[in-house]
Structure formats: C-alpha cells, structure tokens
Symmetry: C2
Subunit: 371 residues, 2 copies
C-alpha cells in the first residue's frame, strides 16, 4: 500500500507519500532518486519532541545517516504552549551549532506543533532552507503538514507570527498513529470529516460506511490508507489552486469560525482544536440548513458521522452565547466587520459567505448549547 | 526633480520614487492614486529609531494621518547591535497592540537596520503584511531598501535569520541625507562605486567627473539625484533578473568577500561596512588585474575614485593575513569549500568565480596591508 500525491504549486511541486514504514525510509526518499531532494552528505537537523522522538527518532536518524547525511537533532518540549519564538530560537541555535547551510534541511518529526515551528525556523534560517515534514498526529498528516503555513504563537494570540514556506517532501507513515492518544486521533478525524463535507463526497460515504470511527484499532489498514489519501488529496488540491489564501483556501476553515471562538473561550484547554471544529461544523451545518442552503437530511448525516466518531456536538454549557458572538467579531478572518462563515451547499461542496445574520448565529448557538 | 523606477518582479512589481520632499508625501503615495497601495483608513505602523524619528518622524506621521490612515509608531534603539529578534518582538507587540490586520502596513523610516527589522516583522506578522521602505541612510537608499532581503542577526552571526519580503513601495528623499553623519555617507558611497564598477560605466564616469565626493555638501543636487537614480536602477535590474540570489544577484557581493572578512575580524567596530567593502573592492580589483581579467589602468581608476571618496584602501595593519584567509573559508558564500569572488572584467561588468588561487588572495592581501 502506497499513495504518492503531488501538491502542484507553480513555483515548486512536492510529493506527499503515504505508506506504512515510510518513517524508516526518509533517507532513501531524500537521496535515492534521479533528482535527489538533498545533495549527498548534506546536513540535516531532525526536530521532534521527547515522546515522539522516543518512539520514532532513532529509526529516522538511522535512515538519514545510512543515506549519507550528517544528522543532528533538536528536541523541543511537547505542547502548544511551547509553540513560541523562544522554541524557534533553540532551533536557530541548533542550526548554528550544526552549521546548517543553504543546501541543508530540517526534518519535522511530530505533530502540528513541531511541524509549524520547524517550518518557520526553516523559512527564516538563511532566508529559507529546505524542510521535510514527517507528521505523526492525524491532524498534522491531513492538515498541518501540507500547504506551507508555518508559524508560532504570540503570547496574546495563536499563529500570529509566521511565514509561508512549502515543504520539500511530506512523508506520512500511518503506523505511527498507533501510539497517538485516542483523543488526539478523534481531533484529527474532525478535519477528515471536514474534507468529506466540503470537498469529497466519496470520502464522506466511506466514513459513513465504517462501523466504528472512534478509535484507530477499529479501522482497517485499507480504510486508514484511504482516509489519509483522500484527505491529503483534498488539502493538496485546494492549496494548489490558492497557495496564499486569497480565495478558495478559505473553505478549509469550515467549522473553524465558531470553532475558534469555542477554543479561545475555553482557554484552549477543556475543548481541543478538533473537538471545537466538530462543534463548529455542527453549527455551520445548521446555519446552512436554517438559511435553506443545505438540506436537513444531509445536515443530519453530518451530525450522525460526527457522533459516531465520538466528537462533541454541543457548545459547552459554561460558555455564554454573548461571549461567543463577541469573539466571532474579533476573529482574524473577519473582513470589514462581517463574520465570514463557510457553509455546505451539499455534501462535497461548500461556499464562503459573510451574509449570515447575527440573529441566525445566535439562534443556532443557543440550540446547540449543552443543557 | 523626480525619478520613478520600477522593480519588475514576476509576482508583484513595485516603484522606487526618488524625489526631494517625498518624505512629507508618503500618505499621498499610499492612497492618492487610481490603484491605492493601501485601503483608505487602514492601520499603519511607522518604525524608526530615536534620532531619525526626531528629525523626520512627525512629518511622515502627519502625511499619513492626513491621508486618512490610522497611524501608530514604534521606536527601536539605534545601532546594529539592536538588530535582533528581541527588537522584532517589540514590533510584534506593537502590531498586536495596534491591531494590525492583513490589510495593514508597516513603514520603515531609517537606515538599513530599521529597514531590515521592519521588513522581517512585516514578512512574518500574520504570515506577511505590506511594508513600505523610507530609507534615510545612503546605504539603505541604494542597497538595503530594494530587493526584499529582510532579517536580523543571531548573537553569533550577521543576518542569519530572515526572509525574502518585497516592499510595496520605496520612497527616497535625498534631502534627509543632510543629517546623516559624514562617515555613514561615505560608507554608502562605497556601494555606489560598486554599482559603477559592476554594472553602470556611466555612473562610474559621472563619479570620476565630480570634483569632490567625500562629503555631501560638495555634491550638487543634480549629481545626487543621478547617483541615487542610477544606483537604485542597477540594484533593481539585478534583483528583477534574480530575486532569490540564484545567480546574477551574486555580483552585488563585489567587494564583499574580503570586505566581510575585514568587518568580522575588526569586530564590526573600527571599520564599518562601507569601508570594508571599499577595501574589498580594491582587493578584488587587484586580484582581477593579477589574473589578467582586468586592465591595470581600470584598476587604478577604481582606486583613485575610492580614494577621492575618502574611503580606506588598505587592510588595517593589526589584522593577520592568515586570519583573513581562514575567515574567507567560513563565509556564507563559500560553496563546496571554494571561496567565491566577484571580479570586474571591465568597468561596468563583473563575473562571479570560485577559481581564485589562495596564493593570489594572499599575495594581494599582503600588498594591501597598511604598513
Ligand atoms: N500549518 C498548518 O496549516 C496547520 C493546520 C492545522 C493546525 N496547525 C497547528 O497544528 C497544531 C496542532 O497539531 P497537533 O494536533 O498535531 O498537536 P501536537 O503537535 O501538539 O500533537 C498533539 C499531541 O500528540 C502527541 N503526538 C503526536 N504524534 C504522536 C504519535 N505518533 N505518538 C504519540 N504521541 C504523538 C504530541 O506529542 C502532542 O502531545 C496547532 O499548533 C495548530 O495551530 C497548523
Ligand atoms: N536588506 C538588504 O538587502 C541589505 C543590504 C545592505 C545592508 N543591509 C543592512 O543594513 C544595515 C546597515 O544599514 P545602515 O548603514 O543604514 O545602518 P544604520 O541603519 O545603523 O544607519 C547608520 C546610522 O546612521 C543613522 N542615520 C540613518 N539615517 C540618518 C539620517 N537621515 N540622519 C541622521 N542619522 C541617520 C542611524 O541612526 C545609524 O546610527 C546592516 O544591518 C546591513 O546588514 C541590508
Ligand atoms: Zn483545523
Ligand atoms: Zn554592502
């Protein structure tokens, strides 16, 4: 089983490889081809966090070393609260200590936090060196690793500091998901469902056909391969059409408008990103149904799929709807004061709009609040 | 007197405007045209240092405010040693405090230090917002403000952290040079002479024809306008052909190979950048003559011009030639262990080579050392 997708960007296309065991083949992928992605003997800085490095670090290093690269590594603490300029500074120090040059590369082995920071450090070291993404969380596989958004948080806001910097290669090994905590797995599934709703009706139907989706061990290797391939394909297609988020790419924010408000009001703690997106998708679906853009039947199918995945579908009872409406207005995606929503029109298709009335948002939010 | 040049980059072209008093017209330039560069009412963060802000800050702010922009400012300490991530963090804080959005802009009013930091902050705030360069030093006018290189220093190396981010507009007011210290003026003249040697024989001959070049007050407004226009034109042409320094752009490093070694060995103190480049150009010229690439006669004309400008032409006596040769080997521009030199072939033309024998570098360096 192996899928190779291409992210067809005008400046430089790159591959997304989805294959069991690919984590042990990174060296070969970078060297062993007619057009090697890195020159022989180049320096490679592998970046990871302690947990992930313990599981998969040595294998990746062995593969890179065997391919003749000069490998060093830098381990950053795990967790969103370390996605800071300070961590990036540690990467700069490691880049300097290991004398990374223009032809060198960084390899991000980890979830979206490691991927975003490594991408940003690579974007800004010597004004840009190569980065290879080896995502290890489901969310990073289907979302963060593809598309070139990199960055860190400002103490007062998420992802405020960053750069666009496309990876040279993305290597996805489904097997590493075995060690991913179940809650993180479900969080990633929220983005997978998102692709089904906004882009790929076949993916949606495959998910519907599965008996269980709440834990990895109930999912066959074939289905997992298909989920990863279709999700990455969706992201790759959208990104290729709109690299810098001028238009189409905005549909990837499906579920994220209200989702971000829920995340930020719960202090990024009790509800994680995927859970917030799940709630946001339920809300956006009901807004779309309310406005007559989407059928009730399809809206119900989405709800059932989200429930089957074990993701939440209610706004936490402790949040005030007024606060949510206020927070929506300060969202980064607000344009000229109008809140921007992505709404499905049918399964596999969505549209961006800033025409949702505040009263509709309020009504749907109130309905969605847990009793 | 007014020159408008275009930096014709494939993705986005931008203008370089050279005109007396343009510092008081920045607001109009950003707003008052058929295609405004910034939307009406947008937020603008003006960045400067205390000295420059005292001279020109209020005028720029008045012009921007009058054009209807919401203007805030951030003053960073003066000097190369503050060209750090820490200063950039202050810019991020100001961007947040003033709620800069995707459609907002930063305006850099200052020398290369302010320009590089502001450019980097703009490159990385919300993954890139607009930046306008208003260079106030001669070096920043003819070099740093054009071409999109931005960045800061790492404690252990210059310009190691950065990004490519082209400005939306460059506004050059020759009148602000009146307050520039004479030594800084001469430093900028080194880059002007560089463009004469590698690109523009007419510029070179204009400089030769001038009676004095060592101080601004001996230079007519016409000659100054011409010097600025031709230098910016040279930089713009080279950058337009090779935005990311893949090939041609390397010739802009004329004088910088040995120059950087001299700068770094004197600890960036006793010899400033322009002075080091002047010494480096003398060295590169003599290497070219030694190798038969350049005539002795033209080499002498360059030497005379550098002397007339009041720039140094000798390697400081306290530097060891062995140290210089060692430092050359660790230069960023070293490729596969070969030191890369830019050598003139005739006035107005230069070539990049890594074929200079170490013995020739040594011999020329020894000859050039102050007794
Ligand atoms: N760049 C983009 O386009 C983009 C898109 C979406 C999200 N993001 C960013 O991604 C981040 C979230 O990513 P995430 O959900 O992967 O978070 P994460 O990187 O914090 O990973 C989640 C947790 O899972 C652990 N983990 C990851 N893979 C594992 C494995 N195989 N085995 C055991 N443990 C493993 C991590 O150590 C961490 O504790 C956020 O910072 C978000 O802003 C970026
Ligand atoms: N981005 C690029 O392509 C590029 C190219 C060349 C140099 N640079 C960078 O530029 C920096 C050097 O630039 P610089 O020489 O302008 O240094 P600078 O910015 O430190 O300015 C030199 C001094 O002159 C003062 N000054 C500037 N304009 C003045 C004015 N009109 N009146 C009074 N005082 C004034 C400054 O306050 C400072 O003290 C370096 O950091 C270098 O790396 C960047
Ligand atoms: Zn998301
Ligand atoms: Zn220079």
């Amino acid at each position: 089983m192996k899928s190779i997708l291409s992210v067809a960007l005008p400046q430089q296309a790159y591959n997304v490889v989805i294959a069991p065991q690919v984590r042990t083949q990174v060296g070969a992928w970078l060297s062993d081809r007619q057009q090697p992605l890195l020159k022989p003997g180049q320096k490679v800085l592998l970046v990871s966090n302690p947990v992930i490095f313990k599981h998969y670090g040595e294998q990746a290093i062995a593969s890179l070393t065997q391919a003749g690269f000069q490998v060093s590594h830098c381990i950053l603490p795990a967790g969103e609260r370390y996605k800071t300029l300070k961590s990036v500074q540690k990467l700069y120090d490691a880049a300097l200590a290991n004398r990374l040059e223009r032809g060198s590369a960084m390899v991000a082995l980890g979830g979206g936090v490691i991927g975003d920071m490594t991408g940003f450090a690579a974007a800004t070291w010597l004004r840009g060196i190569a980065v290879v993404q080896m995502p290890t969380s489901l969310l990073a596989m289907v979302d963060a690793s593809i598309g070139g958004k990199t960055g860190v948080n400002h103490p007062q806001g998420k992802n405020l500091i960053g750069a666009f910097h496309q990876p040279r290669l993305v290597l996805i090994d489904p097997q590493v998901l075995k060690t991913l905590p179940a809650r993180e797995f479900r969080a990633g599934m929220a983005e997978v469902i998102k692709y089904g709703v906004i882009w790929d009706v076949d993916l949606f139907e495959q998910l519907e056909a599965a008996e269980r989706l709440d834990q990895l061990r109930h999912i066959s290797a074939d289905l997992l391969q298909s989920i990863l391939t279709r999700s990455c394909q969706a992201k790759a297609e959208v990104v290729a059409e709109d690299e810098k988020e001028g238009g189409l790419r905005a549909i990837l924010n499906y579920g994220h408008t209200l989702g971000h408000a829920v995340e930020s009001l719960t202090g990024y703690r009790s509800v994680n990103h995927g859970e917030a997106v799940a709630i946001g998708m339920v809300a956006a679906g009901q807004i779309a149904a309310e406005m007559g853009w989407w059928t009730e039947a399809e809206c119900d199918r989405q709800l059932a799929l989200i429930q089957k995945t074990g993701l939440p579908t209610h706004i936490p009872a402790e949040l005030s709807i007024n606060d949510i409406l206020e927070t929506l207005k300060t969202d980064k995606k607000v344009k000229d004061g109008q809140v921007r929503f992505v709404l499905p029109t049918r399964i596999g298709e969505a549209k961006v709009t800033n025409q949702v009335e505040a009263s509709v948002i309020r009504q749907v939010s109130e309905q969605l609040q847990a009793p």
